[in-house]
Amino acid sequence: MTLMKHLLGAGATLALMAGAAFADPAVIFDMGGKFDKSFNEAAYNGAEKWKAETGTAYKEFEIKDNAQREQVLRQFAEEGVNPVVMVGFMWGDVLGKIAPEYPDTKFAIIDMVVDAPNVKSVVFNEHEGSYLVGMMAALASKTGTVGFVGGMDIPLIRKFGCGYAQGAKAVNPDIKFISNMTGTTPEAWNDPVKGAELTKAQKAQGADVVFAAAGGTGMGVLQAAKDEGILSIGVDSNQNYIQPGSVLTSMLKRVDNAVYEALKEGENLTPGINVMGLANDGVGYAMDEHNAALVTPEMQATVDEAAAKIKSGEVVVHDYMADNTCPAAEF
């Protein structure tokens, strides 16, 4: 009798949950947290935009440690959430394992490729966006030296640096390019003090524009650039407002668009690899009132011209991750 009651109860709960969860999508953020002013926040903005347009709620989760990844994916899949959108390359391994177990659930992963029939993988051509801000840096530099501060030394970050160096050299072939990585452990994403010191060290070597692709460490880069009276370039989201008048521009990675599209497609999510580049507005550079005084119309015209050439395929920016080499810089 008690067993029967339990079973019935469980069945009823499942049915209720399935009903409530029907067609409810979910967005799962990575460890930076959804208000990181950067990558995750862009994803959050995309989801909020979809929510405002459709009036439909979505479930969300912010993970706090790696052990939660598998747990939360399973839980959402069991609840019947569809589709499940996750942001960050760190989800790759876990999703590769979970996706085949829930063939009826659609998953979308941003920043990583997972090869499964029910997974949509969205990756970005960061090297193209970095190329544009590299051009911008070279155009704005008076010393003929530009700097790059990466977070953790991983191929993805070198891809940013390599695209940036190529862009800078396209404007000025003799430009001096300085690159530093903050570290080799995940702590390198959250060390603003070291980011600031790296910026000061690069300034001492002559750099007057520094591009930070370093998560929370980048806050230190932007701050030090302002303190030292040089220019900085933000990353992922539009970070121009963080130090107005000192951030030259930001390399935009339209994670918000990717999340928005994935939610819009809903249960009919098209599996496969989706590359977001300049051609489909997946990457770009940011212009707003905070950097209007720093960027002349000529600079903008030069950069836009290059962007058009990349879109048409006339100019091809080398992707570091394609062969782990960079023609324009050494890491």
Binding site: G32, G33, F35, I178, T184, N190, E197, G216, G220
Partner: protein, 322 residues
Amino acid sequence: MDYATLLQVLDSSIRLATPLLLACLAGLYSERAGVFDIGLEGKMLIAAMTSASVAAIYGSVWLGLVAGVLASMAFALIHGVASITFRGNQLISGVALNFVAAGITVLIAQHLFGQGGRTPSLEGAARFLPIDLPLAGAFASVPVVGTLYAEVISGHSLLVYAAALLVPLTAFVLYRTRYGLRLRAVGENPASVDTAGVSVRNLRYSAVLITGVLCGLAGVYLACALQAGFGRDMTAGRGYIALAALIFAKWRPWHALWACLLFGFFQALALRPDVVETVTFMKVPVPFLDALPYMLTVIVLAGLVGKAIPPRAGGEPYVKER
């Protein structure tokens, strides 16, 4: 490498060494009194968050300083209660406090400002600004010594000079005062102190609270002087490097200063791989430079450069004989 580059590296070394030095001296008091403290990191973090939050809200770095130091002292007191009064395991209490600090700082900052666990950027009076020492401008034109004074010694924030003054002060307190003698004794042989009629408990509590004050200063320096605000996990392991420096210095104040300056110098060198390459004529991997402080500590621990003997009663709660 030209002289100007050397000065730049030394300047950077001093900035990077200061939080290590403050945390290292903090650990010195606690460990000399026989209470191991692995929670330097957590105390720095809570002080960094509290000071940046208070400074951001009230626009005064001095209020921030007081609040940051008090927050760090509160954490130190918890460590004291756990390890002195309740005779708990000191390492576990320290580790636990580190975890609490990592979580609660982000939680509070997010609740206060809603910027993802970050505090707003501090400006003007909400931040310790670099101060020029007297005559720095006049000396700047004097070659070698003058530029060294103007570029490296001058132009840091107040807390850097405070940290430097704390070294002779600590040495004096430790070796020349009655309190220092008792403090060292309580870390070596608490029973003898007890026999002499001095309270082991009070001595250890006082040491732990001093640790709290100094860790607080280290955290405030990170958030309100080096940086202009708090960011999650911004201490980035400096509390542990300070512990390594403490072992390297064999629990002595002046040696702590040299150890921290050396570690700071290594950190500054790691920022300039180009300089290292021109000096050594080979490409030295940056991670190697990052790992140097730890490697040196292991060498010292292995007994290759004299012996590193920790305070004898360290880590053991004192149980009064009945």
